[in-house]
Point group: C2
Chain length 367, copies 2
């Protein structure tokens, strides 16, 4: 397999040298940075996440900071979900759309103060987008990328690790809410958050020069629970039905197609980018939807690096957008983005590398 390393267009996270020490074997770019995507034993890493606790360098989740008198106004204009009920120290999962209602990101929006927001973003240049909107509309707000890099602690013992570091009160933190913390002089925000359904926290490091120190502190604190280095796990996220923006979406995907209906508030003002387009789409009816698929195979194969065509009666009806062998399911599972008339229980055929593999559609999540 060809190699990848940092270059001047591809930055390292503050935890980079520690991930090398921990034996990282593969990276994928994400927001122009290197994100660990393997430490060599995917099954062991999956088990660790499901039954123990895992620590992930997710410094690639960059923050886009809105600061100033018009920060709240800009935040709302960028989001098709109503932010008016968002409290200080609360985070919200939010779809962002372009003017045509196409999904361009699905960040966690963190409200730090009435005039200060962070968008903790998926893989796309939202800094550029937010600056453009702010400037075009003449808003009085500064849009920057602060020196903030999340480190995730995920799995059933994540709370034990975090409580042992920061105190028992952290167990009362509500989902997506966050708080200030400090350890050994390192300032952090701690959020109950993370890209898995196994529970956990994200430590928002606010000074990249302390990356190695924070990594070591977490590793040390996690020893009683045998913590190890992992990464956002493709098997678990598929089993749990978590969306990957850019992985499961294309340049035409709207939020309704990928199960984000409940995060769209169609009554929002027309100033909100994409909201009038989404109203029109909702009225006209959505063409595709996202479902799970179980392939009729019986042996582990490689994960999916491409979208594969999905057929029904010799006609292409959709795409299989991800896939991984699930021991729990006993087959390869994945998501499809498929014409709306095909629903759970339907049989389809996936064209994968010159093979035709039968599959059954089902609702998400798998477990």
């Amino acid at each position: 397999m060809p190699e990848i390393g940092p270059n001047t267009r591809l930055r390292t996270s503050p935890f980079y040298t520690k991930t090398l020490e921990a034996g990282v074997t593969a990276f994928s770019p994400y927001n122009r940075m290197l994100m660990p995507v393997s430490y060599g034993d995917p099954v062991a890493e999956y088990e660790q996440l499901m039954h123990g606790v895992s620590m992930w360098d997710v410094g690639v989740e960059r923050q886009v900071q809105l600061h100033g008198p018009d920060a709240a106004k800009l935040a709302q204009v960028l989001c098709v979900r109503d932010l008016s009920r968002c409290k200080i120290r609360q985070g919200m999962y939010v779809p962002m759309c372009d003017h045509d209602g196409v999904l361009i990101n699905d960040p966690i929006v963190l409200k730090l103060a009435d005039d200060l927001y962070w968008f903790s973003i998926a893989d796309n240049n939202i800094l550029l987008w937010a600056r453009c909107v702010a400037a075009e509309r003449g808003f009085n707000v500064e849009v920057t990328e602060p020196d903030v890099s999340p480190l995730a602690i995920q799995g059933p013992h994540a709370e034990d690790v975090v409580a042992s570091m920061f105190g028992e009160q952290i167990r009362h933190l509500k989902y997506f809410w966050f708080d200030d913390a400090e350890i050994d002089g390192i300032r952090l925000k701690i959020a109950r958050s993370g890209y898995s359904k196994q529970g956990g926290f994200e430590l928002y490091l606010m000074d990249s020069k302390h990356g190695s120190k924070l990594w070591d502190l977490v590793r040390e604190a996690g020893k009683p629970w045998h913590i190890s280095a992992g990464y956002p796990n493709p098997i678990e996220r598929i089993e749990s039905g978590l969306l990957s923006y850019g992985g499961d979406t294309d340049n035409h995907t709207n939020p309704f197609e990928v199960r984000l209906d409940k995060y769209v508030d169609l009554k929002l003002d027309n100033q909100v980018i994409g909201i009038s387009a989404l109203r029109a789409i909702a009225e006209k009816g959505v063409k595709r939807h996202q479902l799970g698929i179980k392939l009729h195979d019986s042996e582990p194969g490689p994960g999916h690096a491409l979208w594969y065509d999905v057929y029904h009666n010799e006609q292409k009806v959709g795409d299989m957008t991800n896939g991984a062998w699930s021991a729990k399911a006993g087959c390869t599972i994945g998501f499809v983005l498929i014409d709306r008339q095909h629903t759970a229980g339907d049989q389809v055929v996936v064209h994968k590398e010159n093979k035709e593999i039968a599959g059954t559609l089902q609702t998400l999540p798998f477990f």
Copy 2:
């Protein structure tokens, strides 16, 4: 070195399988695609480019297409260079800025018709940017990413190869101009262009399913001149003083700092994004400028993956933004982005991985 491979957020170019066959050993992401950056022997590849002919998969140079009644208006608004003299079938090298005059790209803008433009972009999401501007200003224009992927042929024998494929008239094509062509049923645009100073062409493939076939046709036609697979060459581009957007620039860089003054037309209308900010910068005076640097070393070292601090009298005065061993120069050469009072001939010190290396500033290009 950790591995990289395609995934659903990281696309392959139409020439991908052919680059694997040709023995690609490393990729870097660029515009969310895999760009070959090594075939294992950088010196041989450099020699090939300097004295023979080399073929490069630069499918990562995506096109942002503007089409419709307001295409010309949008194109101009996005560019701080005057496009009014650009003829059909002409390309122009153009700085693009945000509203603060910060460089966000340096594409070749190709005018295909009065209502049809392609921006052949460097590494940034200009599709998102252009769509935002068009929508915010209510322009009547469609902004899309067409199925277009350039294959570069570079080096002193590039013209021979291209003439042998498409006819002798191609020798009269002017720099950055392009023409329609067809070979074996494959439709192309051919431009005299490319990211080197050794001369050459880019074949704009307009249907990705013909990628392998086009690659083979070029390889076959290039045999008399011993063509081989290469990639935008870091040694040559540094020797020749070519800018790498995102590599040599940061989130504050304006065009004046990186020798793009002659491509900025300050008399343009205020509707042009960034032009009023650039006028203010020009009036106030630019703080940094880009120069070459020759390090006082005498043995080849690895290329630069990071920016390194540049010191003068114990004070940080700039950054060394790239670097490569140049046999021609007999030392490591690179670019600095440095306070304006430091000029060619000055001695500085580069702090590189705990070493202090003396260097002499000089004008660009090196050769």
